[in-house]
Symmetry: C2
């Protein structure tokens, strides 16, 4: 009889966490099928939890946040205020040492006093998801200000170029500002899923495109890398550089990541569009057909596109009856130049990166929007305090981050390939490769490091590296480790770039 152990160890036992997942499953099942049985169970369970915890009842907060967002969703489903209040209660109980007071559990400070995103990455972001859900229902300004502060700290200082977060193995936790090791990146798949979930909520709460940018980034890169192309093997940990030892596994002792990535992929269709009072928002560009309810009008929207391999998207709008409403088209943050035509005529608004372009008109069947997002190969560099990325660049095209993998570059260890200012890039769709991807090829330098032999450290004149021209080929990061094991690298050496103002006067190369 383990009943006496119930609710006795909120820190380590995932009772509230599991309850939250059950609620979400019940809601999803009800919405998909109309069946009420599981939802009834969830409500009964939630009522039980509400009878145990709350103001004047038992204090407590979950070691692993999750139930907060589930309770808000259950409130939305049932309109029972006590679920929203219980979500708030669990959020507000944090930071008083009820579960030990540790930073890793984000129990060291009350939520609204946090000024940096810390602790176990999945817990931290799930907590932010719940807090964002609460904000959407309560409109509490202080809560939003904390969320904004944490988001900025994460996105400006603690996030991989892939959208992955939580750089530390120890505690599966966020690191300090700019602490983003590549080879020892933790970047848990679940944390990337959580990053998508949180940014989706922040987007819904604000309508701001910067959140969609991060949502898309994490979706196409850090999260998607979590699953193999055949859909049967998973990464828990997602390094950005490897020697070939790190491979996806069929399952894990703590198997959070496999169902989480499955759930995420199944929920992507729900993140393509959203609606506001008199508008339809297009967040993601995905070849798809959708039927959207807007003021009693069923609007059928078809996207024809090769996105993310190509920046051209043709959108056909077919309302069941002609009506005036706005279409908000996302112009991604990575896109420096975009043109939008409606029925062949160019939209005369300025089109800026990381905005939503509003097109307000009477829409009728067969109206056609043509979006052309300029999608060149770009090189990214990092803030200088990301010490391990100094003199390195990442290749990105559209939302997709690339890597060099040994399988495509048999002649040189990809850790020894460098990009130079003269490097010319070509982007080519290869339908047979890795399920169909655009590869990026270029000419660079291969470094022959054999003189290093068994030395680990050497004086400057002691070892010389030879440079030889090479061609290289990069593939999307998400598709790595699907072929024979070998070295991989995202942040590629960059030689001879002069990024210093005044530098030329100060030193010779």
């Amino acid at each position: 009889e383990k009943k006496r152990l119930r609710w006795t160890n909120l820190r380590d036992m995932h009772e509230l966490y599991c309850a939250g997942h059950l609620f979400q499953a019940a809601i999803a099942y009800h919405r998909s099928t109309g069946e009420k049985e599981l939802l009834t169970t969830a409500v009964r369970f939630a009522d039980h939890i509400a009878s145990v915890f709350g103001p004047g009842k038992r204090r407590g907060t979950p070691g692993h946040p999750e139930i907060e967002m589930a309770l808000v969703e259950l409130y939305r489903e049932t309109r029972k205020e006590e679920y929203l209040e219980l979500a708030q209660f669990f959020l507000d109980q944090r930071g008083y040492g009820l579960i030990g007071g540790s930073i890793v559990l984000i129990d060291h400070k009350p939520f609204r006093q946090l000024d940096e995103i810390v602790g176990h990455a999945v817990r931290a972001i799930y907590l932010c998801c719940g807090a964002t859900d609460i904000f959407m229902e309560t409109g509490e300004r202080e809560l939003y200000e904390t969320l904004e502060k944490l988001w900025k700290n994460m996105v400006y200082k603690r996030m991989y170029v892939t959208g992955g977060v939580g750089s530390r193995h120890a505690g599966e936790a966020f690191g300090d500002d700019y602490e983003l090791p590549n080879r020892r990146a933790y970047s848990e798949t679940c944390a990337s899923v959580a990053n998508v979930m949180w940014n989706w909520r922040m987007l819904l709460a604000t309508g701001e495109s910067r959140f969609t940018d991060i949502m898309e980034l994490a979706l196409y890169n850090a999260a998607l890398a979590g699953i193999s192309l055949n859909g049967r093997e998973y990464f828990y940990v997602n390094p950005l550089a490897d020697r070939g030892r790190h491979r996806r596994q069929r399952w894990f002792g703590c198997a959070c990541c496999p169902p989480n990535i499955a759930r995420l992929l199944a929920s992507v269709p729900g993140m393509i569009y959203s609606t506001s009072d008199n508008a339809i928002w297009v967040h993601l560009y995905v070849a798809s057909v959708a039927r959207i309810e807007l003021k009693g009008n069923e609007v059928r929207i078809t996207q024809e596109t090769e996105y993310p391999w190509d920046g051209r998207i043709d959108v056909t709008v077919e309302p069941s009856k002609d009506d005036e409403f706005s279409l908000y088209l996302r112009i991604p943050g990575w896109c420096r130049a975009a043109t939008v035509n409606v029925n062949g005529r160019k939209v005369r608004k300025s089109v800026k990166p990381s905005t939503y372009l509003e097109i307000s008109r009477v829409w009728g069947t067969g109206d056609r929007v043509e979006i052309e997002l300029d999608m060149p190969v770009t090189l990214l560099k990092s803030h200088p305090y990301v010490l391990n990325n100094n003199y390195r660049v990442a290749i990105k095209r559209g939302p997709v981050v690339y890597c060099l993998e040994q399988a495509d570059n048999p002649e040189y260890d990809v850790w020894n390939i460098a990009i130079v200012p003269e490097t010319k890039f070509t982007a080519t769709y290869e339908p047979e490769l890795l399920g169909g991807v655009v590869v990026i090829e270029g000419n660079g330098i291969g470094l022959d490091i054999s003189a290093w032999n068994n030395k680990l450290y050497a004086e400057m004149d002691e070892v010389q590296v030879k440079a030889i021209p090479v061609k290289f080929k990069a593939v999307p990061y998400y598709a790595w480790a699907n072929r024979s094991p070998g070295p991989m690298i995202v942040w590629i050496q960059a030689l001879g770039f002069n990024t210093l103002q005044g530098g030329k006067k100060l030193y010779k190369a």
Copy 2:
């Protein structure tokens, strides 16, 4: 009554580990004072352990190695063979899953099958210490070959430039080859102490100077950083780059490091010299007076030197009676040019780095050896696979590794200081600074990174860094974090060095 728990959890309970420390303390106390009481206790305890464990008795091996080297020392002290056999037994029981079979406990493979140094760094190296002690008594070749393999893997691929080892926080463990992050270095103080201990044993086993080089390196840098200049605060973890958050503590919940560094410093006098049949070996240069027994002759040796701040060492040899024997003088691996005079006459042997120079003669009172070790400021670079050290250099002079600390460089964040090929270095002894140290000053470039502002990633043309000439001042790494908190860095940016053969033809700077 906890007696029933005795020896039931060898993996986690440090019973054998504590026993080993007791034996070593008892031996040291006996050797220092002649008192037998503690030694008698140790022998009784060892006899008890030998009555429980061994061939035909209980199987088992300690979760944390230590007792192996203690048992060999107890064998040396008492000449009771069973202690040596028990040390071998514990070593040989490893790798069969008796304590769970994990890599972190080095229980995944029998010791002689190891081909890389893995697992918890202190455990791994203590185990190697014990194995080296066993080898010294048994001469077992296979054991030595394993030790040699593990040493090479550690020194050529898994050791910081400071001599620190065990790069991972998770498991306090060795990382993969070339996995040596700076900011998230673990480099536990105890692991550096262990590194000194192991290399001391390898030196005694072989007489090879490469072991003394690593012993000296770890002693003056990684280990010594573990204790504050006032001797009252300690580092458990020793990063090679920091933003100013990492500070020494007065004590730790798991307080292994403070007594370990204290023990190490107290044992340094015993590592300056050793003897072989008809020779005295000088391993460390330290201003000191020693009396050494050699074939019934008491040889008094005085070293006058400012080492490690200066490469001049005057050695006076005063045997109680004139006699012929060899003096082996260590020529450090870091020293490219050395001269040795005996009574004013230059020794006509070639003097090579990382060797022992044998001077064989009849020594009489007042014989004087003058050693002049060339000790310029050197810049070290790393194997290219230490990705985070690419385009970075470390400053070293003699055995001492330097760092830039904010306290000495108020104008520029030291993370933004770069060394250029034109940088000229001066080395100056400052008696009032940090207890008296040689500082290294030079002219470099200060990078104004303010344009980065809140960006974490940017396209190449999006952000420009301004370069301004600056002077910088470096201090010994071991002395860092003894003043006001601020950024620190060992691996300093190096701009404009052309270390590529053929590179100039292939790219412009």
